[in-house]
């Protein structure tokens, strides 16, 4: 059984190849690839029981749209009665009290959950080296990082440990690991998918999205999880279009912009030449490609790290050892209990971001940093809105380099932050983005990013389909 085969491709054979046998095969593969450290919990027996139930429903002709799909979930999403650690010691053995909305919807569509995936602590990181439960390794080369923060979810799909997976993307945490592991990763428009049940990192940036081995697979997952949810007041009431029907792979007349600021000297030759080949292919198939400008690009990382750390310092104030999570044994009074529980429970990168966020929000600095960054955020969003007056989508590299070696950037937080240079802008502007793998000159995959207008996932999915070889 080919465990990297897209759901869309094996779905017609479901009647003869049971969901149970596929689930068992994935469970076996998870055991074989334990060295990847992709999972924090695996639902062995329960996944098989669920798969049998799906097979029964399939036989009776009442199965949902995701029957036969085996899905892994980033450990930042709540699943009732399951552990949700967020990759942090502070939440070790925390058991969720309810299902996130995305989990409810996937369950109702008959997806089988196989386990919860490793991640950078509280989704803060670009290499998955910040997990309290050890780093995830890149399935393509175990001496390299899988990217982060959804590194476990990306590695799981790339290695065939699950058909698809869910990640979250606050500054690139779906698209960057998708690029480094050679799979598809989609960050929907802010507000397209309910965040109810997602443990918050930076609430004005966070968005849940799928990983898959084909654009059609991520479209099928998006189709199920997208849409308004009264439990998330920032979720949009706009109708959800039929994504698959838009994915003809026909790009005739589609206007694609290349932001000139994204093709600077920082980009490696290998990535540049891979992008050039993709652009030529899209041109050959009728796309109209032109250069555009996003003049505030050089300010994106600075703006992002002020706003996201500010929101994080506020969101993570809830971890105080009172109601759940780790509590120190060494405190005589309440104030010491807060301080020691947090200091012993959080890892280094989380503390660094809480410190930076607390600083930029503190008395005397709020206007200089936080308010200033909010204004620049509008300028950055305006750049995109202007560009989308002329083109339908933008094509960029997902990352400035291919997967880097473990440990390479751990001592230099600023260098690590700069690896998000091409992805954070979508979160600042609230627009959707997808990373599509392409073969590089060397053996490591290269990610091509397509960015679209708000709520126009259909266009970027269609371009992704064309890049992946649909409608040839």
């Amino acid at each position: 059984m080919n465990l990297q085969e897209p759901f869309d491709s094996y779905r017609p054979r479901l009647a003869s190849e049971s969901c149970e046998s596929r689930t068992r095969a994935h469970l076996e593969e998870i055991r074989k690839r334990q060295s990847l450290n992709a999972f924090l919990s695996v639902f062995d027996d329960e996944a098989i029981i669920e798969a049998k139930r799906v097979d029964e429903r399939f036989a009776r002709g009442i199965a949902g749209p995701l029957a036969g799909m085996v899905i892994a979930v980033k450990d930042v999403l709540n699943m009732k009665n399951k552990e949700t650690t967020c990759g942090s010691k502070i939440l070790r053995s925390y058991h969720s009290l309810y299902d996130a909305t995305v989990i409810e919807r996937l369950r109702a569509a008959d997806a089988v959950f196989i386990g919860k995936t490793n991640m950078d602590e509280f989704a803060m990181g670009s290499s998955n080296e910040n997990s309290a439960f050890g780093p995830v390794k890149n399935p393509r080369d175990e001496s390299r990082v899988p990217g982060g923060s959804s590194g476990g979810s990306a590695a799981a799909v790339a290695a065939g440990l699950a058909t698809t997976s869910l990640g979250t993307d606050t500054g690139g945490s779906i698209r960057q690991p998708a690029a480094l592991c050679g799979i598809i990763g989609l960050k929907p428009t802010y507000g397209r998918v309910s965040r109810y049940g997602l443990v918050a990192f930076a609430s004005s940036f966070d968005q849940i999205g799928p990983f898959g081995n084909s654009p059609r697979d991520v479209a099928r997952v998006l189709q199920v999880i997208a849409g308004h949810d009264p439990k998330d007041s920032t979720s949009s009431t706009l109708p959800v279009p039929d994504y698959l029907s838009a994915m003809t792979g026909d790009v005739t007349g589609v206007k694609i912009g290349l932001p000139k600021e994204y093709y600077s000297s920082a980009l490696s030759d290998e990535i540049r030449s891979t992008i050039d080949r993709a652009v030529q292919m899209l041109r050959d198939r009728g796309a109209i490609v032109s250069e555009v400008s996003l003049p505030h690009t050089e300010y994106t990382i600075a703006t992002y790290y002020i706003l996201a750390t500010a929101e994080a310092s506020s969101n993570l104030a809830r971890f105080d050892g009172v109601r759940y999570g780790y509590r120190t044994e060494h405190a005589a009074d309440l104030a010491a209990m807060y301080t020691k529980s947090r200091s012993e429970g959080f890892g280094a990168e989380v503390k660094r971001r809480i410190m930076l966020g607390t600083y930029v929000l503190s008395a005397g600095y709020y206007d200089a940093y936080y308010a200033k960054a909010q204004k620049v955020r509008r300028l950055i969003q305006h750049d995109f809105f202007k560009a989308f007056e002329h083109v339908d989508c933008l094509l960029t590299p997902t990352t400035p380099s291919t997967a880097f070696r473990m440990g390479e950037k751990m001592d230099d937080p600023l260098q690590m932050y700069l690896s998000d240079i091409y992805t954070v802008s979508a979160n600042l502007a609230g627009i959707p983005g997808i990373s599509v793998p392409a073969a590089g000159d060397e053996k490591l995959p290269v990610g091509i990013q397509i960015l679209g207008r708000q709520f126009d996932e259909a266009t970027i999915l269609n371009v992704a389909e064309a890049l992946s070889g649909g409608n040839q």
Partner: protein, 95 residues
């Protein structure tokens, strides 16, 4: 606006975190490096720009004030590090 060792101690206290002197030195260095990088935002004149706090168009979101089912006290307390009857239990407030 250079961050000093004393500033780091003040921010840590606000964030309810504590660090060794070695860590405080490290934070002083790293925060200064990150903050000097973000200083570049001052190159931009933003006097006439409205701050952006929400990226999609949304008006106020209201709902009817109707009681919905919610977690029982027993379930809500199930992850408590320490409890007493239907309360979360904490160390004494005044040390």
């Amino acid at each position: 606006m250079a961050v000093t060792f004393v500033d780091v101690e003040h921010i840590a206290a606000l964030a309810r975190l504590e660090f060794s002197d070695v860590e405080k030195e490290q934070f002083t260095h790293q925060l200064n490096e990150i903050l000097s990088y973000v200083e570049k935002l001052n190159e931009l004149d933003t006097a006439a720009v409205e701050p952006l706090s929400h990226v999609i168009e949304l008006d106020n979101v209201f709902r009817d004030d109707i009681i919905q089912p919610s977690l029982s006290a027993e379930i809500a307390l199930s992850n408590a590090p320490s409890r007493s009857d239907s309360h979360f239990k904490v160390p004494k407030v005044i040390g």
